[in-house]
């Protein structure tokens, strides 16, 4: 056993860290003050796009992909190191949906033509993606979705409604699940499509979050024409690809390192901020709360290394049950971290961005937003179901 990085990996890690520490000096403060800012505010989206360009120029967005699709055939571990460092700097620049979820799926299941068409654009940070899966009546039970795609000649004509589509109003393309066989009620009748969001018939309506931000959307599809060439995999076999995508969403190393950084910043705040004549950090209650979070974060990080290791060793699919565990461990940690931060701020914990607000009202924003992490990409309950059935071999309860 050896927990160290090799000297080359250490050097790489330092290179990433140096880059981000410089670039993140220019981050708009709004980005850090709200989990939803990247999609909500022009200035934050712009920063994401600009940083993406720089990362692309460095060849870092898609390190582990094959060269022919814009990658550089780097070992997976380098990609993870990059994710970890990027999480630590809370840096945007990598499309979490396109690069994070769709690309690995395409690498395994898409046609050569599709890979050549889409992957290089992602590697160059030229196209951002949204995920057109959930529907009003198909959330956790995604396989029950009813958006219909009917083949007519060389096209599919799509009708239906999607919901909770993060960033649909910002992104260029979407990947969608739609029903191609209405006889099959569940997963067997679904196909996986790539959709240009500018296609006529697509209407995007904002859904505002509790913290008043525009991140979510409803997407209405009326006679939207999708070329047959944009179907990934065989007709009616989209479910298999979609399950792969879900697993890619869940390694969480960046979320744990993000949590660690958040905690460090909270600690810094408690050292700097005086309350009742002494720094908050001297208050035994505050110290215990911070220590508890530090313990939880360390345990989570250690776990996420094991997930990463298993992903490298056995592949993303075999590590899926472990990744499901990482998902709820990470998101619930971030929730507790924000609740604790608000507790420590006392009366100021409720103040929104204004001259009275600690850290631009970030914690009260996060207080309203952090539970979204427990739902997006599969709820904590579903993740626990997966751990129970896949990792522990217990009978399915649903």
């Amino acid at each position: 056993m050896d927990f160290r990085y090799t000297p080359e990996q250490e050097a790489l890690r330092k290179e990433f860290a140096d880059f981000f520490s410089e670039e993140m000096k220019h981050v708009p403060p709004e980005l850090d003050a709200s989990m939803e800012a990247i999609f909500d505010l022009d200035i934050c989206w712009e920063f994401h796009k600009q940083l993406g360009k720089k990362l692309a120029a460095k060849g870092w967005i898609a390190m582990a992909w094959p060269k022919e699709y814009g990658g550089r055939d780097a070992p997976l571990i380098e990609q993870f190191i990059f994710n970890e460092v990027r999480g630590r700097y809370k840096a945007p620049g990598v499309d979490p949906i396109g690069v994070g979820m769709l690309a690995p799926t395409l690498l395994v299941t898409a046609s050569e033509e599709q890979k050549r068409e889409h992957l290089p654009h992602m590697a160059r940070a030229e196209r951002d993606w949204c995920q057109l899966w959930s529907e009003p009546n198909a959330g956790s039970d995604l396989a029950s979705l009813t958006t219909r795609a009917v083949r007519v000649g060389d096209e599919y004509i799509v009708n239906g409604q999607k919901i909770w589509t993060s960033g649909a109003h910002r992104t260029d393309w979407g990947f969608m699940l739609a029903r191609t066989n209405p006889e099959e009620k569940r997963s067997r009748g679904l196909s996986f499509f790539l959709v240009d969001m500018k296609t006529p018939g697509i209407t995007i309506k904002p859904l505002y979050s509790m913290a008043k931000a525009h991140m979510f959307n409803e997407v209405f599809l009326d006679d939207v024409r999708v070329p047959v060439g944009n179907r990934v995999g065989e007709e009616n076999e989209g479910w298999v690809a979609s399950q792969m995508t879900s697993n890619f969403e869940r390694s969480m190393i960046n979320l744990f390192s993000h949590a660690k950084r958040e905690l460090e910043e909270l600690v810094e705040f408690c050292k700097e901020t005086k309350w009742g004549g002494q720094p908050l950090a001297k208050n035994p209650l505050v110290r215990h709360k911070l220590a508890q979070l530090a313990i939880e974060t360390e345990a989570g990080l250690a776990y996420s290394y094991s997930v990463v290791w298993n992903q490298i060793k056995g592949g993303l699919i075999t590590a899926a049950p472990l990744a499901a565990g990482a998902k709820f461990l990470a998101t619930e940690l971030i929730q507790r971290l924000n609740y604790t931060a608000c507790e420590i701020m006392g009366l100021y914990g409720q103040v929104a961005d204004s001259r009275w607000a600690p850290r631009r009202g970030k914690y009260q924003n996060y207080y309203q937003q952090c539970m979204g992490l427990n739902m997006g990409g599969g709820t904590s309950e579903i993740m626990r179901n997966l751990v129970a059935s896949m990792a522990l071999g217990l009978p399915r309860s649903w």
Binding site: S134, N137, A138, G139, S140, D141, S144, I163, W164, L207, Y208, S209, M210, K212, F216, W275, G276, L285, C342, E343, G346, L347, Y348, G349, Q350, V351, A352, D353, S354, W356, A357, G361, Q364, Y367, Q368, Q369, M371, G372, N374, M375, G376, T379, S380, E381, R384, S397, W398
Partner: protein, 377 residues
């Protein structure tokens, strides 16, 4: 022993519930979150006509002479409907201290107008140091001729931007302990030297910053005795805490109800999500939190109304109900899934208010410290 509501209390509850369901829909609640004033003068007038602002005031002062438990029942319903506006600060923080500590003259001058809804009161207690206890009172009042001159900054003052008068808690002397040397004044909000600004908050509940610069207040506006004001504050807070608990219990009941409705209706995997055991356990835990909160509320509020010593129990009740209301609203969102996170869904209105309510008059950590002290630790 009789743990049931009286017939009159049942009537009050039903009447309040019907009235508020009709007159204070969530559309209004949302509208008022964005509204500068934060309350509806029309709803305010109707509530005044029902006699609510004077519910516990004596008839001679324009009130209905009902008891503290009746007010608790009413506030529970207001919490259930999350009624926006200055009812709490005017009635609980304003009229009760005047009733208990005011001179005959002050009672005559303020109470009938509060009872009729014509006058809105609030209390200016907390300051930028954000301390809940007496040591937080740094705003100074200094005697000058027939007046006192007040200087300082008050923070998190409920609805100060619309209040006509505020009970301003000031330091008139550095005493041997923080509790000594505190005096209260009924300050006209329009006095020269007062600047007021609404602080943006998570619950959009119109907490204000009030800056007082050489504000002159006539001596006869002192509430209670010079330097002995903290006793009045303590008593006011005891009532305010139980009143806040009543709102919180009402809110948590509403959230439990809406969650139960939802998990019965929402179908995933071919069955209502309420048939999944994990959701059932969440609901069972929410329900026990609501039930314990309600019973603790009634028990301690009743004791308080009877004049029994309840300092410890009040801290316990607030400590418990703080956590319960937050838990219930948080699990409610988890049961709702993504829809629970939207601006348009009601559950978020309660989730945000649960946090704000915790912070009012002492968060959980503060209450635990009080309990520990009361336990002789």
């Amino acid at each position: 022993m009789d743990l049931d509501l009286t017939e009159e209390q049942e009537m009050l509850r039903t009447m309040a519930r019907d009235f508020l369901t009709k007159e204070c829909p969530k559309t209004l609640v949302r509208e008022l979150e964005e509204d500068e004033k934060g309350y509806s003068p029309e709803l305010w007038r109707k509530m005044a006509e029902l006699g609510w602002m004077g519910l516990v005031l004596p008839e001679e002062h324009g009130g209905m002479d009902m008891g503290f438990m009746d007010l608790i029942i009413l506030l529970q319903e207001m919490g259930r409907n999350i009624v926006p506006g200055p009812f709490f600060c005017s009635v609980v923080l304003g009229s009760l201290p005047i009733l208990s500590a005011g001179t005959e003259e002050q009672k005559k001058r303020f109470l009938p107008e509060i009872a009729s809804g014509e006058m809105i009161l609030t209390m200016a207690l907390y300051e930028p140091n954000a301390r809940y206890d007496a040591s937080g009172v740094e705003t100074k009042a200094v005697a000058q001729d027939n007046n006192f001159v007040i200087n300082g900054t008050k923070l998190f003052v409920e609805n100060a931007h619309i209040a006509d008068y505020m009970i301003c808690v000031t330091r008139t002397q550095e005493g041997a302990s923080p509790e000594e040397g505190i005096s209260l004044f009924l300050v006209d909000s329009k006095s020269p030297g007062i600047k007021c600004q609404v602080i943006p908050t998570m619950a959009d509940d119109k907490l204000c910053e009030v800056v007082l610069e050489n504000v002159s207040v006539p001596k006869e506006n002192m509430l209670g005795e010079l330097d002995k004001g903290w006793r009045i504050v303590t008593r006011a807070l005891e009532h305010a805490i139980m009143a806040k608990c009543a709102e919180m219990v009402g809110g948590s009941e509403a959230v439990l109800d809406m969650t139960l409705d939802y998990v019965k209706e929402r179908v995933q995997y071919g069955k209502p999500i309420g048939s999944f055991q994990v959701i059932q356990h969440y609901c069972a835990n929410m329900w026990t939190n609501v039930a314990t909160s309600r019973n603790l509320l009634y028990k301690v509020a009743w004791d308080l109304g009877e004049g029994l010593p309840v300092a410890k129990e009040i801290a316990m009740a607030k400590g418990w109900i703080n956590q319960a209301y937050k838990f219930v609203t948080e699990r409610a969102i988890q049961c709702h899934g993504a829809i629970g996170l939207t601006r348009d869904h009601d559950v978020g209105l309660y989730y945000r208010r649960a946090k704000a309510a915790e912070l009012a008059f002492g968060d959980t950590d503060f209450q635990k410290e009080l309990v520990a002290q009361q336990m002789g630790l």
